[in-house]
Amino acid sequence: MKHVLKKGLLSMGALAFITAAAFANPYEKYEGTTIVVSWPALSHFKKAEELVAEFTEETGIEVEIDALQYLKLRDRQLLEMSKDEGEYDVVSWVVMWKGEYVSKGLLTPLSQFYTSGSLVDPNYDLDDIADAYLQNGGIVGGKKGYMPGKSGAMYGVPFGAETSILAYRKDIFEEQGLKVPETYDELRDVMQKLHEAGIPALTSRGKTGHQITAAWLLHLAPLGGKIFDDQWNPVINSPEAVEAAQVLREVAQTGPKGIPTFGFGEAAAAFLQGEAAMHLDTLKIAAMSRDPKLSKIDGKVGYALHPVGSRCGSETGGFAAGIPANAPNKEAAFLFLQYITSKAGDQRMVELGGDPVRISTLENNADKFDEYAVVAEQLPCADPDWRPLIPEWNELNIDVLGQALTEVITTDKPIQPIMDAANEKARAIMEREGYYLWQ
């Protein structure tokens, strides 16, 4: 009897424990903890501040945000993450830095959290996050070192991720009797017609360095080009790459004045202030065009798929967030990441004016925002391999392509020799970094 009673009590105790565990607050253990987040001072992240406040209210975990201009984040994060004890618990990186961060051992693999029953939310549904975003911003490894594959591992979750779509002025296209371009041939034709009508056609980034390379890459993927062949030989002087540079030159010649000085902000401003008929870049332009503080063209903008060249392809970029290897509060940091990218968090980001990363969020809100249906249709074509996310990319991006492409758009010199010279420089860099030792 005593034995039975003991067994019964133990069973009840176990049941009570299981029930308690089921209803336990997973955040309770971390209440009062302060986590420090490093992310960019960009629109999506500014809007996320309200979600962060809600996170603190719900969980008791305090969040301190260190927001910097996005191209300046890397220096600060690298310095902080290379200390023995860092201050950041969460860092948000431009996707092209992930390879560098991981190769230097600065990030924590997220598998240890996603396999922890006490931390992971069973309703989180990682599969619902757009695959291209996840691959682009969060996964490191695989055959190329920056993609999924047998050696791939997850280091980050997309947040503020993006792909490219075409935004166009419905009123101008209607007035001019133009069809929205679906292919690159049509796009070039429309640019020319708009230019002849005295209307600046397509705005673009064009500032020396990262910005102009990003603009060229937008055209390179759909036109069938790439940066390296399978043996890491640079092919930036291929016919496709030269054609992409030619398109960029035509964009600069037919677009608004000042493209060689435009970063993303200036290019977007030219469109939002009504000084260009089209904008082909990140989907972030849609939320910006609705913002009366930024835009004079609210209600006049239509959205279409990124024009197709020899294949369909759009960029994958923006940001992902992860946890530094030297973060003092890793578990609380994971709970924060999980919260802001959960289904509820993603939906809340939409309500706050940010950009979702989940397919279900895009589909559920397609009737509210014109661009969402286009983005959902574009995402299967989004190319997570549209640029190589290797540590050497920064030098190629800024120093080699960023210089050569400036020459393309600011001079009338033949493009092929410019790209040939850039290709040689790129090869020298890869050689210096030891990429051909095994060949």
């Binding site: 220096d75 500032k207 020396t208 000042g258 060689p260 000085t261 600011t410």
Partner: protein
């Protein structure tokens, strides 16, 4: 021959050493602050190091970074840009600054108000100067295009997107900010000149031209040299305005040596290589400063010989 003897205090007498004792802490702090970064620049220039990697494990490259630097056409390109920039800015700033100081040295009506307004650019931080002029030169919204169009019918120019125009723009901005510096130094020198000498030259019949070029400017020669030296060092050191206005572009048309070092160090993460170029910069500045000071040592006089 008369031999002069002089009673001398012992070299290490307490009285002699007291001033040194007082200034020793300041010297140590200054040397630490100055020598440590210089030493680190030299040290890193022999390694392949990136921020985020353990410095102790950085591969030792010997003089590879220096060999690479000598063979790197980019370094010579930006050095040429720096020298051209220095030539135009310093020549114009010195000429304008001295001319304005000569014009305004006399106590004419409104001179003090003009002087105050004139030195305002000096009080603005280089970052703000970069921002202000970036927007003034902006092709879309800049005032410069607006007024050139409104008053002279000139077509809008993409000032910062054309290699020649962008170079002109940064030279213009530098002149705007730093001419007052020359002005203020020179006017202080002119006002400190003994009035008897100037009056004497007037009595002797010196005309305006002779007074300026044979009396006043020679007398403030040491001040002019110091001003020149400071501007030269600034040209090799400064990067904020270019970083903000043009980022060194288009191409490398406005990339000065210091900005190139910054880009190498932080954009392309080649700290070792950037340090090697920094060593070059230190040597250039040191050589120029020494040459100027040697050629025209303001402290040197025949009595020292």
């Amino acid at each position: 021959m008369t031999v002069l003897t002089q009673s001398r205090k012992p070299r290490f007498a307490a009285e002699t050493m007291t001033p040194y004792t007082f200034i020793t802490p300041a010297i140590l702090v200054m040397l630490g602050g100055l020598l440590y970064p210089v030493f680190m620049a030299f040290y890193l220039s022999f390694y392949d190091w990136e921020i985020g990697r353990d410095l102790a494990k950085a591969p030792f490259l010997g003089v590879d970074n220096f060999v690479r630097m000598v063979q790197d056409p980019q370094v010579w390109e930006v050095l040429w840009v720096t020298l051209r920039f220095g030539f135009w800015t310093i020549t114009i700033e010195m000429t304008l600054g001295v001319a304005l100081a000569l014009l305004l040295e006399k106590p004419i009506r409104g001179a003090s108000i003009f002087r105050t307004i004139f030195i305002l650019p000096l009080m603005v931080s280089p970052v703000v100067v970069g921002l202000i002029w970036r927007y003034l030169f902006d092709a879309r919204i800049g005032w410069i295009n607006y007024y050139l169009g409104a008053f002279f019918g000139i077509e809008p120019q993409v000032w910062l997107g054309d290699a020649d125009l962008a170079f002109f723009a940064i030279v213009f901005t530098d002149i705007w900010q730093w001419t007052p510096f020359i002005f203020i130094i020179v006017i202080a020198g002119l006002q400190a000149l003994p009035s008897e000498v100037v009056e004497a030259s007037t009595i002797d019949g010196a005309n305006w031209y002779q007074q300026i070029f044979l009396v006043k400017l020679p007398m403030i020669k040491s001040i002019l040299i110091i001003a020149l030296l400071m501007r030269l060092i600034d040209v090799f050191r400064g990067l904020e305005v270019m970083l903000i206005m043009t980022g060194g572009g288009p191409g490398r048309s406005t990339e000065l040596l210091s900005l190139h070092i910054y880009n190498r160090a932080f954009d392309t993460q080649q700290l070792g290589y950037a340090s090697a170029i920094s060593v070059l910069l230190i040597l250039i500045v040191f050589a120029i400063s020494t040459a100027i000071l040697t050629m025209a040592n303001p402290m040197k006089s025949k009595s020292d010989v």
